[in-house]
Assembly symmetry: C2
Homo-oligomer: 186 residues x 2
């Protein structure tokens, strides 16, 4: 069985990944650590800078993931600052910013960055369209999951089981592309 | 004609590249600028960190090149620090360190890092084996060229014309791989 290092401080992401990889006979080693997120203009830049910082301490191959939510009415805020915004103004802050706002459209994005043993770097993006709820619902998932209802669903991510979320989530989509690349069925 | 940005403060490198690209109907735009070289354990890491720093200011696609000489007797010094060492102790310093040393074997390496519009990063390495001379010879080229004689040659890089150097140089080899990749004949 092939094994691959996933660098992240986030257990939830690892839990969402795990099954998809197992199905393809790849085991993930979760290297649980924080790393400085050097910001860029977009997720691709953030990911490449993160990999650049990590390759000096971790021998490739490994992969990282960056995700974020873009709220249309807020000019796509908080995007690459999603994690920072979640830790500061939080879900309550986002809901306040959308108080009495009708257009609640939002896009959840997941970007996987993979660096292989030849130092080739590949980026995979998954996105899921949806809407911001009027109030938080559900206890599953993490981050913005309680206030995001994907298109064609009536449940927030946080109201779903991991299996349900994995059928439609932005992260499931980026990982699916990544797995196709790894297994050569791209 | 396709065009591609080459980011470098070095005119010599650009001059060596230019013809190879022209042959493949690709024009290079030389974006002449210094950029901070964040060091790593090897050229691959240096290159990826350079790209990481540049993508925040330059829209991909673009490419960079890092080169260095490794002197066997000196435990591969100066390698990724070649540029710094050249500017400080210089050719004279290297020749002093090899005073009365019989083993004068050295390897010249060129690493090209390319980031395309999808933020995929590819690394191409070229290397040429050779020897360090007893004293500087020739006025062509740049950097360590006056003290490096490639294998099967009696001339230093600095004693060759660009065309001659391009037939055997480490840089010509990394660029050849890069061109094969770009034109899909890899």
């Amino acid at each position: 069985m092939k094994s691959l290092i996933f660098v992240s401080s986030n257990d939830h992401k690892y839990n969402e990944f795990r099954d998809g990889f197992k199905t393809h006979n790849i085991s993930i080693i979760h290297m649980k650590r924080e790393y400085p997120e050097i910001q860029g203009r977009n997720h691709n830049e953030v990911i490449i800078n993160s990999i650049g910082g990590l390759i000096s301490v971790i021998e490739p191959p490994f992969f990282v993931e960056d995700s974020g939510i873009e709220v249309q009415y807020l000019e796509n805020f908080p995007s690459i600052y999603s994690s920072y915004v979640f830790k500061t103004i939080g879900l309550k802050g986002i809901l306040n910013l959308l108080k009495d706002v009708e257009n609640r459209s939002a896009t959840f994005k997941s970007i996987v960055g993979y660096v292989d043993e030849n130092y080739t770097i590949k980026i995979f993006e998954g996105k899921t369209e949806g809407e911001i709820t009027l109030s938080p619902r559900g206890t599953g998932g993490f981050g913005y999951d309680p206030i995001f209802v994907p298109k064609d669903s009536t449940h927030t991510y946080a109201e779903m089981t991991i299996e349900q979320k994995n059928r439609i989530s932005h992260r499931a989509k980026s990982i699916k592309q990544f797995l196709s690349y790894l297994t050569g069925t791209e």
